[in-house]
């Protein structure tokens, strides 16, 4: 197939968007209030939406507009709305989470970014569809979300970390390959949506059983 060479301004904008995505991931790492985390998550979704539209426009692949629309519906509107309603109904919107050692987490995050760029380097070199950094950034976003899931002890925040990881994957798919085939993207979106519903149910059951959404209560299952 013909590979589309992007014009320089488009590339610059894409680079800018990618770095914003990375920046938001770092912001999420240090944000202790859940509602703001959800806003940041919606921000990531918005960036994905804009970058997908841009790639769709400049590459002329119109099916990418569908996946952009899907992103807008699911990640900018749908999931943040569901999450907000959830924390409102759980009465958890004012909770703030004690974070362990923010500077250390940030340093670990930096190390992860360098690692991600190193790992993606050989692949980025041969990529003709994208700017060099985008796959590295996508991998960095995935790893940072992973770090966020490890360092947080609240159920809601872990789920937001999980969803942010999915954002990184989506960004990898659009930037590296112009998006996966539509059927797959629909399937993935459906899985994510169902997953969030299930987790929503879980929150209520967990709170009913443990009287809190703090995962530190959930450390009973281990070896004797």
């Amino acid at each position: 197939m013909v590979l589309h060479a992007f014009t320089v301004p488009v590339l610059n904008v894409l680079n800018l968007l990618a770095s914003c995505l990375l920046l938001i991931s770092f912001a999420m790492l240090s944000e202790r209030r859940t509602p703001r985390l959800i806003t940041l998550f919606a921000g990531q979704g918005t960036i994905l939406f804009i970058s997908t539209c841009l790639i769709a426009h400049s590459s002329g692949l119109h099916e990418l507009y569908y996946s952009a629309a899907l992103t807008l519906l699911l990640k900018v509107i749908g999931l943040p709305l569901i999450l907000r309603r959830l924390i409102y109904r759980l009465d958890a919107q004012w909770d703030s989470e004690p974070l362990v050692n923010v500077p250390l987490t940030m340093l670990a995050g930096l190390a992860l970014v360098i690692f991600a760029f190193g790992l993606a380097q050989p692949i980025s070199m041969m990529a003709t569809t994208i700017t060099r950094n985008m796959l590295g950034i996508a991998l960095a976003v995935i790893l940072l979300s992973f770090l966020m899931m490890i360092t947080r002890r609240k159920a809601v925040t872990q789920v937001i970390g999980f969803l942010a990881m999915e954002n990184g994957l989506f960004f990898a798919a659009t930037s590296a390959t112009y998006g996966m085939p539509m059927v797959i993207e629909l399937g993935i979106a459906l899985d994510v949506l169902v997953g969030v519903f299930i987790l929503g149910l879980f929150f209520f059951q967990i709170r009913e059983q443990f009287e809190s959404l703090d995962l530190r209560n959930m450390e009973n299952l281990k070896e004797e």
Binding site: F162, M180, I188, Q209
Partner: protein, 483 residues
Amino acid sequence: MELLAVLCLPLLGFLLLALFGAKRAAPELNIAVSFATLIAAALLVLRVERYGTILVFHDQFFVDAFNVFLVGLTAFVGLTTAIFSRPYMRIEELHGRLTPRRLQLYHAMYQLFMAAMFLALLTNNMGLLWVAMEAATLSTVLLVSLYRTRASLEAAWKYFILCGVGIAQALFGTILLYFAAEKTLGHEGMTALLWTHLNAVKGQLEPRVLGLAFVFLLVGYGTKVGLAPLHNWLPDAHAEGPTPVSAVLSGLLLNVALYAVIRCKVLVEGSIGVTLPSRMLMGFGLLSAVLASFFLWRQRDIKRLFGYSSIEHMGIITFAFGLGGPIANFAALLHMTVHSLTKSSIFFTAGHASQVSGTQQMDGIRGLLGTSPTIGWGLMLGSLAILGTPPFGVFSSEFLILTTAMREHPWTTPLLLIALTVAFAAIFSRVQPMVFGDKEAQPLPQSPALVPVFVHLAIVLMLGVYMPPALAEWYRAAARLIG
């Protein structure tokens, strides 16, 4: 046609049971649907045996010797587990651990889970394979948390988060695979993720990308196989979920996840050569087998014990696939079959043993032979079979794996032998007092369905003593496909 039936019957069952699952006859409906699925799967097996590989729906689905035997196995264990679960879940309901609404959820999710596994097995599309694996995870999360106790919620949460993260890695691997494939196969027409198409051009795929993709795919799907060090979810999910779910998790889901790994391995080997993938499989496999066998000593819960035993056996199978070659692959496929049958029958008996004794703690389970001889014998024979005592089929496959390992990589033999002996000592010393010894226990309010246990064990015994030539030929064909 048969293929469509295999895919759609469980889905239909899901819809029916989601509507009528709270009715009195729901378990029977569950059995009926599973039975119909088994018939469809058997027809599919016959068709593949007669006409060879099937590719349908614009190549989106395909059946070859490798996945058709897993389809047959999945449908079979799906049916026997449904038969077992009818009295088992009724007893749980009588004991007050479940309500009719929970049973409705259970039956619906059971069929959805089966549908997801068949989709994962039959699809030719690596992306759809991922979607199906994720769907299987989601449906089992609800099954693991069915009792809504603290422990089961914790187990389900751990399962969801760990497998969710794992499977996200697999998605990244799939994206990388697509990235490499797109250069050769093109973006249009959705062929770039089709396994058969990829397999045809695997020599031209960019090795560096595929190497990285394989690491992510192995870690991702490997989490679901329960390979150490990503195995933490497995014992919890097995111990806290209802017993039929433990049986299908161990007997079927782990196999399907391993199937995904092996499909990826075949592609990657064509591009980067056999060394890296087989080394990685062997490493992860050995680590899981050895680690799990030592963890077996520390278990007090009967279902946790056999959960760890599943990790050990999946480790051995992964190791065998890593060895490669016709004999090791043959042994690995055989071991997948016998492990699946034996382990599910063990969970059936372990579930009833806990019901008889009122606890899952092994210290509280005593004298099963005195109270209910069939459960006692079932557990004893099942344990002997899984520990690799001749003449059961597990012995033959483990023997083949060991001899191949001795020839190809002699240094691995002591490690494997240590894992096997430690596991033998750990499990046998636990099972023996549970089966013998004496203790008063209350009889079950409903007689258990233990026919599946003995049918499974009889098949395992048969595979150890006499392998039908048709089946052997079939395993050989599948082993050739894997290379």
